[in-house]
């Protein structure tokens, strides 16, 4: 039997390039160049799909902080995505505030929601958190569906698209580039958080709660920080999602959405940033690439995902050491 060394598998080679400091900057430059020209080469339909994939990069990196770094199973992540989107929609309709003034409000709303849900439940061990977040996700969706201020089942439409220094961000191409910038910010934020006192504390708590506490780490506070940080990523994604489509409805924030984001994180390899990005792209692009298969595509896609999890249970991105 031939045992493949990590360096000879395709992912291993990719990882070797990423880990090599001399190659990393050229690689990043190539990725930026590809991101810049992709919509012009691939056409308008692909641009919309790629925009969606970039939104998922932001959401997945946010959930990765909660699930990958801090080890908290969150089954209702779409709730924060919804809080961000609905805050933009509601504030725009009720107060008529500019998008850039509303964005901080969306972040605050998500942080507040994170604290309200997290502070009682994060004291418990993580299985309970999964159940509570599952419930929270459904509560948010059902509230949005039944409240008047959220526009009920039809949602909110006519959300004004933002201006930035005289540039009206309105076409799909504009939004593609906005999401490129957001995704890059999300990557930088994830890298910086991982390499910090708080980021290490998340890992300590995930590995051994008791030992972490014995080292003077307040596990509830540290977990809450992860939960709220993830919530803020989700809300920012949701805010831009709302202005991109200029209309939102409760069905965009279903349990399926939470599961899809979680699936991308697990698929890519929890806690590994390049893996999570890849996971986000696979989850969004996979069904699109299989479009020719018609009704069979979701089945084929599901089988593909199962095979990946069977052969790479800790995610497609190899362990870094």
């Amino acid at each position: 039997m031939i045992v493949r060394s990590p360096a000879t598998s395709p992912m291993g080679r990719l990882q070797a390039v990423w880990d090599d400091k001399r190659l990393r900057y050229p690689l990043v430059a190539v990725i930026f160049a590809l991101m810049a020209i992709a919509p012009h080469v691939l056409g308008p339909y692909a641009t919309v799909i790629l925009t969606n994939a970039l939104l998922y990069v932001v959401l997945c990196l946010g959930l990765n902080i909660v699930v990958g770094y801090a080890g908290l199973l969150d089954l209702g992540y779409a709730a924060f995505f919804a809080v961000g989107a609905y805050t933009i929609g509601i504030v725009h309709h009720v107060l008529g505030l500019d998008f850039w003034l509303t964005l901080p409000l969306a972040v605050l709303a998500a942080a507040a929601a994170g604290i309200i849900i997290g502070s009682p439940t994060l004291r418990l061990r993580s299985d309970y958190l999964a159940i509570v977040t599952l419930g929270f996700g459904e509560i948010v969706r059902l509230s949005a569906r039944n409240l008047q201020i959220t526009g009920g089942a039809s949602g909110i439409s006519g959300i004004e698209q933002p201006w930035l220094f005289g540039w009206h961000i309105s076409s799909p191409l504009d939004f593609y580039y906005v999401f490129c910038v957001l995704a890059v910010f999300a990557v930088i934020a994830s890298l910086r958080l991982a390499d910090s006192r708080l980021g290490r504390a998340w890992l300590y708590v995930r590995h051994d709660e008791d030992a972490a506490e014995a080292m003077g780490i307040d596990r509830v506070k540290v977990k809450l920080a992860a939960y709220v940080t993830g919530a803020i990523f989700g809300a920012i994604g949701g805010a831009f999602f709302a202005v991109n489509l200029s209309a939102i409805s409760p069905e965009s924030f279903s349990f399926r959405q939470s599961v899809l984001v979680l699936m991308a994180v697990v698929l890519g390899g929890m806690g590994k940033i390049p893996g999570v990005i890849l996971g986000a792209f696979i989850v969004i692009l996979g069904p699109e690439l299989l479009r020719d298969l018609g009704d069979m595509r979701l089945l084929v896609f599901a089988v593909g995902l199962l095979l990946i999890m069977l052969f790479r249970p800790s995610g497609i991105w190899p362990r870094s050491r």
Partner: protein
């Protein structure tokens, strides 16, 4: 006044009295051992001191601060560090990263600092690295700093765990069976290390240990726990001659472990 004072600590689990009115103290800059047969309640006493268990009765004061109702991380912040009976290093993390965890309670940068890389955050990171490296050097395992902690030889893992506890900058260090699983040579190194922790850093050391030879050599005072009751307390010589202690050990099914 002693650095650590326990008064009438009583701990029960589902009707079983694990600790029964234990009164006990540790002076500043001293090395004290806690011995006793298996199941005597030694680790339970450690867990009570460090806030992991909540005794139903009694009082614990550390340097004048009542710590009985504090959470474990607050006890650590107050200046009591510990190691675990079975080494509990953080998996998949390097030796240095493991020891850096000890500095968490002495630093305060949060998410904003990390995202913006503020000057104060960078200074703090440098301090965390520096302190962790110093603690590793003190314990003689600095050369292992970049290795994954759990891949180290057992004796080295024990040292890393001590370095990690020292990084919390404690005034009292609790070691739970630090010599378990060590070779004779490693035990000698451990004795030297414990001595240096007290002499050079001014830290009191309280240890649970089964190797009575080691205990007799390094302890200034020894306390003996049996069935949750403190049955003797004194200098090593006094303990060796104490009939109650001999009986506690000989009364065991396995013939006792105290070689006097």
């Amino acid at each position: 006044m002693a650095l650590l004072e326990l008064e009438n600590i009583t701990l029960r689990f589902a009707g079983n009295t694990v600790l029964d009115g234990v009164t006990f103290s540790v002076e500043a800059r001293s090395i004290v051992s806690l011995i006793g047969p298996n199941g005597a309640g030694k680790t339970s006493l450690f867990n009570s001191i460090t806030g992991f268990y909540k005794p139903q009765a009694g009082a614990i004061s550390f340097d004048g601060l009542q710590t009985l109702r504090l959470k474990p991380h607050q006890v650590t912040a107050a200046g009591i560090a510990r190691t675990f009976q079975n080494v509990r290093l953080f998996r998949d993390m390097t030796v240095l990263e493991n020891v850096m965890s000890g500095m968490h309670c002495r630093t305060k940068a949060g998410a904003i600092g990390a995202l913006l890389r503020l000057p104060s955050q960078r200074r703090e990171e440098a301090l965390i690295h520096e302190t962790a490296a110093e603690c590793l050097d003190f314990c003689g395992v600095l050369e292992d700093r970049s290795r994954i902690a759990t891949t180290l030889a057992y004796g080295h893992q024990r040292r890393v765990e001590i370095a990690r506890a020292l990084a919390t900058q404690p005034r009292l260090l609790l070691l739970d069976e630090p010599a378990a699983g060590l070779t004779a040579g490693e035990k000698e190194d451990l004795i030297a290390l414990i001595g240096r922790i007290r002499d050079e850093r001014g830290i009191s050391v309280l240890l649970i240990e089964h190797d009575t030879g080691l205990v007799m050599r390094i302890s200034e005072r020894i306390s003996v726990l049996d069935h949750g009751v403190l049955i003797a307390e004194g200098k090593p010589k006094e303990i060796q001659a104490n009939p109650k202690v001999i009986e506690a050990y000989l009364g065991q099914d396995d013939g006792g472990e105290l070689e006097l």
